[in-house]
Structure formats: structure tokens, C-alpha cells
Amino acid sequence: MSGPGGATRPIPQPTPETEHFWEGTKAGELRIQRCQDCEGAYFPPRPFCPHCSSRNVAVEVASGRATLYSYVIHHREVPGFESPYAIAVVELEEGPRMMTNIVDCEQTPEALELDMALEVTFEEQDDTITLPFFRPAEGSQSRPAAGGAR
């Protein structure tokens, strides 16, 4: 996605601890980690469990299903973005939360209902980075995007 003047959104720079996540999004998978000792799922990536400190952790592919936990709708002009746009936090079905944008949906308080069902979708940014976004889950009650605003 490019904004006014061809500006683009900030592109992440993976580290060794997060590489698997970004390889996953490139492959169309939302990868989270789960502790093999306490069984807790967590995000963002790190090579140990934040719940019990165990290093015995594994990567798994999340279902991609989530609900809308909270957000704001930004109204100021930001290079790389079409204002107004929502900066959202979603809660994955597996438990962890992550920041994202909600796409294929009007960016209004009426359309963005807390706890609405969402599903992950991916958008390539460059050769390395594909970002995960979320959209209203198929079959859920939501207003379609007006004029492809996303």
C-alpha cells in the first residue's frame, strides 16, 4: 500500500528471533509460538516462554481467526496511509493479541464493532515483508468497504 507521494508504511526489519514469523506471513501463514511445557501460546516472537521462562517452545500456525479487541481511528494525514484509518488490536483465537489494520471494512465506529469476528489476510509489502491484516470474517455482519478504502 502506498500513500500520497508514493510514501509507504514503515517496513519491519526481522531479527533472528522473529524470522520465522515473517517467513510465515510470506507463505500465507500466521505463525505464533507455544510453550511445550506450560502450553501457553504467545506473541510477539521470542525463543522462550513469557509465561514460564521455558526455552522448550515451538512454532505453530494460528487459525487466523480473531476478534476486535480495541482500536482508534486516526484522522491525521500520515504518509503511506489513507486517513481516516483504524489502528486496531485483535485477539487471536489462540489467545495472544496483536496490532493490525482492519481491511475490507469501512473505517467508522459503526462498522468497527468491538468483538466482531475477523480473519487474517496477507498483503505483500516488498520481497521480504508480507504484513498480516484482518478483515471481517466471512459470513459475519459487517459493512463492505466503500470505494475500496483500505
Binding site: 508504511r9 514503515p10 517496513i11 519491519p12 526489519q13 526481522p14 531479527t15 522473529t18 506473541f43 510477539p44 479487541y69 480495541s70 482500536y71 482508534v72 481511528i73 486516526h74 484522522h75 491525521r76 500520515v78 503511506g80 496511509f81 481516516p84 484509518y85 489502528i87 486496531a88 488490536v89 493479541r97 496483536m98 496490532m99 493490525t100 489494520n101 465506529p109 468491538l114 468483538d115 509489502q125 504484513l131
Partner: protein, 380 residues
């Protein structure tokens, strides 16, 4: 802990507040420091401990001509100064230093001698938050509110009440940036920044600074000003990423820091006469009142609407006008501390008559960190 054995003996803000284009950031630190040293009747030669955030303590010590035996550069955002007070108390009690200077200065508005706001692309924020378009605190600090609002049925008017009542306090304060009366309609009609947060629900952006001098309670009576004793302190951190808070309806760092400070001070909520809660945005006093335990969860909006925190109310809150109306240079914690000290000295423009215990509660980052200080003008 031996928190009861230290006191604030020097306290001052920068000579001017608001727009100060003729001073760089380190210059604001120094101006506040010189004012605080004058307040305490000291010179740099008398200071043997230094703490600051937003500037390197090395730079500042050299700049002021201080030779410290104790240095603290803890920088966890706007509540860093609460942590400095806590650390200074420990250092004095341990004999590491006797007279500690804590400074803040920030060219928040004029941006003289400061860096920009940026996040490394390889940091966790850079990878997992920045790509989604937040532009600083107005779009990050504010994200938890809708979850709180849905959980407890709070409204935009509840947020507006915070700004309106704080403006009433600001009207009594000649140094406040905004003093004209404010109505709920004006707040809710102000420019949208990041829904549901409008301009008048966000703090000011100004230049300024402040400094404190802390010493042992034993020495405190030898200084010209009325000593303000530190009864209890607390600190904690939660997460640098707002998206990773435990629960968007409450701040874990607030709760941990607050509980520690109350326990150290050995006080109950009924003992508190005056309260400062860092208000970078209008929802923070709501979280603070609940997380410090003054009211139950979900009860703060009603508590504020019933004017308990207003002039004449039972818990005067943010009596300088707060970050929403008084001033906010980016790291507001120092100004909350300064107002608590003024209230305990009995010299605040909106003085709470007979107040003996004041709490200054701070936040750092976007709910990332917290510090709480319990002050008293009664010798413990």
C-alpha cells in the same frame, strides 16, 4: 525499606513554561536545576547525586559542575522522575549520596536540541506496531480506551468531564497554559485526532522543566523551605508495546506501583488529601483512580461526574490543571511531583486547605511504566 527517612528540600520548575525557544533541552534542565538549588540554598558544590531522563546525567553533571558519587539515568518515559525519587531515597538511606538533584527539561514544543520520535525497524515496536500507522502517543496511548468503555459502559462524555474539571483547577493557576472555562460541548466539538480522542482530550505540547533536591529527613530541617517527606514509593514496568498489555481495562504497572507505595507509606486511601495522576490523555485519571484503589473497577467515570475530584470535592485531583491544561512537555511526571510538593508546602495556587498527604502517580511510555510517590508535610 527506609523511605520515611528522606525529604524534598528543593523544588522548582523552569523560570518560564510554555514556549521557550531560547533554551535547548539541556538548558531547560539547567534552568530548573539552578532554580531548585536556589530554593534549597545550595550550589552545585553541595550536590553529590544526580538523576535525570531525556538527557544524559553525564552531560548534565558536567554542564552544571557537579561531581557526583551516585548517578541514575533511568529513562522509562514520563514517570522516570518518580523512579528517580524512589532510587534517590534508597541511595540516601544506603549512604551512597547525601544531596541528590533530579532534573527534567524538555523542548517539547520548540524542539531545540532534541532528537525526533522514531522506532528502530528491528525493534519489537518497529516490527509489530509501527507498520500499522500509529503516530506517537495520540494513537497508541489511546487504543485501550474503547475496551474499557465497552466493558464498563463509559462514554465520550466521561472523558470530556476529566478535561472540563481540570480546566476549572487550571483557572486558579496563573502559570497554567489554558485557563478559560471549558464546556463538555466544546470538548466534544473539538477537532478529531484519533477517534474517540479529540484535541481537548489530549495534553498540551510545551517547553519546560523542573527539578527536585532530596536529602535525608535528619538534615531536612536545616534548609530554608518546609520539608516535604517521602512516605512511600512504588515503581513498575509492563510492556513497551501497548498491544501487549495484560488487560486493556487496567494498567498492571499502575497497580503494582501504587500498591507498593501505599504499603511502604502505611496509609489507607482515606488518609490521602490530594492526588496527582499523570494525564497525557483524559482516560488516564480514570485508570489511575481505579488502579490505585480509590474507587472500584468501572467506577471512576461516575466518581468524576459527581465532582469528587473537583474544587471542593473530597479528593482534589490534578490541581495544577494537569497535562490537559497546565503544561506537558512530553514527560509530565516532574510537573505532577512539583504540584504535590507545592501542596505539601502550602503554597499551591489552588491550595487544598489542611492537606497533609499527597500522592503523585506517573506513567511512562504508553502504559509501559509507572511510578508512585506518597508525600507528607508531617514528619513521620
Amino acid at each position: 525499606m527506609k523511605q520515611k527517612s528522606v525529604a524534598v528540600v528543593g523544588a522548582a520548575e523552569t523560570t518560564d513554561l510554555g514556549k521557550i525557544p531560547n533554551l535547548s533541552q539541556i538548558g531547560l534542565h539547567a534552568d530548573a536545576a539552578l532554580n531548585a538549588m536556589a530554593d534549597a540554598g545550595l550550589t552545585a558544590k553541595d550536590i553529590d547525586g544526580i538523576a535525570c531522563a531525556g538527557e544524559s546525567p553525564t552531560n548534565l553533571a558536567q554542564y552544571l559542575g557537579i561531581v557526583p558519587t551516585w548517578v541514575d539515568g533511568t529513562a522509562v518515559g514520563g514517570c522516570s522522575f518518580m523512579l528517580h525519587v524512589r532510587h534517590a531515597a534508597a541511595a540516601i538511606n544506603e549512604g551512597l549520596a547525601s544531596t541528590i538533584l533530579i532534573t527534567h527539561g524538555e523542548s517539547g514544543r520548540s524542539r531545540v536540541g532534541v532528537g525526533g520520535w522514531s522506532m528502530a525497524r528491528a525493534s519489537l515496536n518497529g516490527q509489530f506496531e509501527m507498520p500499522y500507522g500509529p503516530m506517537g502517543p495520540p494513537t497508541l496511548f489511546t487504543i485501550p480506551w474503547l475496551r474499557y468503555a465497552k466493558t464498563y459502559g463509559a462514554t465520550e462524555e466521561d472523558l470530556a468531564n476529566v478535561a472540563v474539571i481540570q480546566r476549572e483547577w487550571a483557572a486558579l493557576n496563573p502559570r497554567a497554559s489554558f485557563r478559560d472555562p471549558l464546556t463538555t460541548d466544546e470538548v466534544l466539538g473539538s477537532r478529531m485526532i484519533a477517534w474517540p480522542f479529540r484535541k481537548l482530550l489530549c495534553c498540551l505540547v510545551t517547553d519546560g522543566g523542573g527539578a527536585l533536591i532530596v536529602t535525608s529527613a535528619d538534615r531536612a530541617k536545616d534548609f530554608p523551605q518546609k520539608p516535604v517527606y517521602v512516605l512511600g514509593t512504588g515503581e513498575s514496568v509492563e510492556t513497551p508495546m501497548v498491544s501487549q498489555m495484560d488487560d486493556f481495562t487496567t494498567s498492571r504497572a499502575f497497580r503494582v506501583s501504587g500498591e507498593k507505595a501505599f504499603a511502604e507509606a502505611g496509609i489507607t486511601h482515606d488518609d490521602v488529601d490530594h492526588l496527582m495522576i499523570y494525564d497525557a490523555f483524559a482516560h488516564l485519571p480514570i485508570y489511575g483512580l481505579e488502579d490505585l484503589g480509590f474507587v472500584g473497577r468501572g467506577e471512576a467515570p461516575d466518581f468524576i461526574r459527581e465532582r469528587n475530584t473537583a474544587i471542593g470535592g473530597k479528593l482534589p485531583l490534578n490541581t495544577n490543571g494537569g497535562g490537559l491544561s497546565y503544561m506537558h512537555s512530553g514527560m509530565y511526571g516532574m510537573y505532577a511531583l512539583q504540584e504535590s510538593v507545592r501542596q505539601m508546602r502550602g503554597i499551591a495556587p489552588a491550595q487544598v486547605e489542611g492537606a497533609e498527604i499527597s500522592i503523585a502517580h506517573g506513567v511512562g511510555g504508553m502504559f509501559a511504566a509507572s511510578g508512585t510517590i506518597v508525600f507528607s508535610n508531617v514528619e513521620p
